[in-house]
């Protein structure tokens, strides 16, 4: 990215814009900041400062239900991310790299629907499907299936965008240099779309860790995930322990943000092969 030219404003316009900008940043960050601060407050009531303590983190870590939910979340997130990344990448390849095939038009539409469908609708229809039509008991596996069903589409969109920017003469050149299809994919296509694939995987991971609605619909007895478990706790009673687990979840989100930024930076570095 270069210097933005031709964007000069009058000083007062600039000043108003930047004041507005920092107010919005305040709006976006202060609530989170306060939440984190109160996770260290030695008082049962959130909102009253009672001195610094680590005890809520201790409680969180020794709460078996909470840790069980965390483990379930990790399991669901990892499995659904891996599967949806593979499925989404294959779908993107089929849509972008093959001119026409049986049912392509319909697939193109079906592929995008999970992205725009309201989550409640998705949750409700999966619940009906699993319990009324298929002879499946709700369990951690139904949650995983549900998460894959919406994540795969997000992965496909991201990978497809990457593929669309990839000059297909690179693959032709590989074939011209005696590589077969599989080798071409392994040596050329995959390494060049990997930033997109990883970006999609991170999004799938985030979506899975964020989801409350679909999980609430299709979870089996005793197999709750962390966000749904926390959601239930909040509805019952607000405690600083919730602030502690919230801080933990924020921390996970932050790690994912920075990992994704690192990927993007690398992708930009390798993708700009014609700029110089």
């Amino acid at each position: 990215m270069s210097v933005q030219q031709g964007t000069a404003h009058r000083p007062w316009v600039d000043r108003i814009l930047s004041i507005n900008g920092w107010i919005i940043f305040g709006f976006l960050y202060l609530p989170i900041l306060i939440l984190v601060i109160y996770s260290f407050s030695d008082s049962k009531v959130v909102g009253i400062w009672g001195g610094f303590t680590w005890k809520w983190y201790g409680r969180m870590l020794t709460n078996p239900e909470m840790m069980g939910a965390l483990a379930n979340s990790a399991k669901v997130a990892i499995v659904s991310t891996v599967v949806s990344t593979v499925l989404g990448t294959m779908a993107a390849l089929a849509l972008d790299r093959y001119r026409k095939w049986l049912g392509k038009g319909a697939f193109d539409v079906i592929m995008y629907l999970p992205v725009i469908i309201p989550e409640v609708t998705m949750g409700a229809m999966l619940l009906i499907w699993f319990t009324q039509v298929l002879p499946i008991n709700l369990s951690i596996w139904t949650i995983i299936l549900g998460h894959i069903a919406f994540s795969a589409s997000f992965v496909a969109i991201i990978v497809r965008a990457r593929l669309a920017n990839l000059d297909d003469s690179l693959e032709e050149a590989a074939m011209d240099l005696y590589a077969n299809r599989w080798t071409t994919f392994r040596r050329i296509t995959l390494p060049l779309i990997i930033p997109g694939v990883l970006g999609g995987a991170l999004l799938a991971l985030t979506l899975s860790l964020d989801d409350v609605i679909i999980t609430e619909f299709v979870q089996g007895p005793g197999a709750s995930l962390l966000p749904v478990y926390v959601f239930g706790l909040i509805k019952r009673q607000v405690t600083p322990e919730i602030n502690a687990v919230s801080t933990l979840m924020l921390g996970i989100s932050m790690v994912l943000v920075f990992v994704s930024l690192a990927f993007q930076a690398r992708a930009n570095a390798s993708g700009s092969n014609k700029e110089e």
């Binding site: 933005q4 031709g6 709006f27 939440l35 026409k100 629907l113 309201p118 409640v120 319990t131 409350v212």
Partner: protein, 298 residues
């Protein structure tokens, strides 16, 4: 299915060309097949079934009885209660979209017009962090702020401007705005950042004032960002569940929690199915209208 032989020594003819094309086409099909099957099994068929179920009679436990059909649940959508929930949902989603745009545009514009790439990237990361942060946690943050001991309540009481907002409609609105504002800012930023600023300078050169150049050039050219951002905010706002459940009360039920209730304590799955289909239809209509309007202004 016959693949063309790699070492064929045949001359080309239309039939063999077709055969080669067909082989290629089958390859594409097989690459898509696993995802295709998965989506048909766990998306398309469920989507069809939920529409079917919305016409089913309900059993005593609330589950649908397949084979006994009724229009009752679709008629029930006209009930005053259901209508008010629907309109409240659409209204709040619309209001949230409008406010996100109003706040988000100058904000995105400000970030996108910083001179140095470093500054722009830094500010962008500051937007990305809340965007990627856990939604439930971000909503929970407002619950404590708006509660009796919360900072915002205390400020309101001290100034005498407002009281405890938790469990009211303004609280739900604030929560939605907070939750989805980053979804508006990112596409707007992308659209404004990629704008060809020479065009704005050309407008200025052709005697347009700063405001006129903005209105006639910058704004229309950032339309794709406005459309994308609006859809990204409107759709989840319309189906919001977590926000009204945590920040709203019984009088601020939105479609999202109303639907969940039908499948839980309400014990009326077929009616929940009808509502689910309704919300999907509203969302699709809104999307189509938006795209049409956007298409005209472009």
């Amino acid at each position: 299915m016959t693949l063309l032989d790699d070492r064929t020594s045949e001359e080309a003819n239309p039939e063999l060309e077709k055969k080669a094309e067909r082989a290629e086409s089958w390859r594409g099909f097989f690459v898509a097949l696993p995802t295709y099957v998965f989506l048909v099994l766990f998306f398309v068929l469920p989507l069809i079934i939920i529409a079917v179920i919305s016409f089913a009679e309900r059993s005593r436990t609330g589950k649908p009885i397949l084979g006994e059909w009724t229009l009752e649940w679709w008629i029930k959508l006209g009930d005053p209660l259901v209508r008010s929930v629907t309109f409240r949902s659409i209204w709040l989603a619309f209001l949230n979209t409008a406010f996100s745009l109003l706040l988000g545009y100058p904000f995105a514009y400000w970030i996108a017009t910083r001179k140095k790439a470093m500054t722009r990237n830094f500010l962008l990361v500051l937007v990305l962090i809340p965007f990627w942060s856990n939604f439930l946690v971000r909503t929970y943050a407002w619950r404590t702020l708006l509660d009796s001991n919360g900072m915002i309540t205390k400020i309101g009481e001290a100034t005498g401007l407002w009281g405890k907002m938790l469990f009211t409609e303004p609280a739900v609105f604030l929560g939605l705005l907070y939750g989805y504002l980053p979804f508006m800012v990112l596409p707007l930023y992308a659209a404004i950042e990629h704008l060809d600023w020479n065009l704005v300078e050309a407008a200025r050169d052709l005697y347009a004032g700063a405001w006129k150049a903005f209105r006639k050039v910058t704004l229309p050219l950032s339309m794709p960002g406005i459309i994308a951002g609006s859809i990204l905010v409107f759709i989840p706002s319309l189906g919001a569940y977590v926000t009204p459940d945590l920040l709203g009360g019984s009088k601020t039920t939105l479609l999202g929690n109303y639907i969940v209730t039908q499948f839980k304590s309400g014990r009326n799955w077929p009616f929940g199915a009808a509502l689910s289909v309704t919300i999907l239809v509203i969302m699709m209509i809104a999307t189509v209208i938006y795209f049409k309007k956007g298409g005209k202004t472009l």
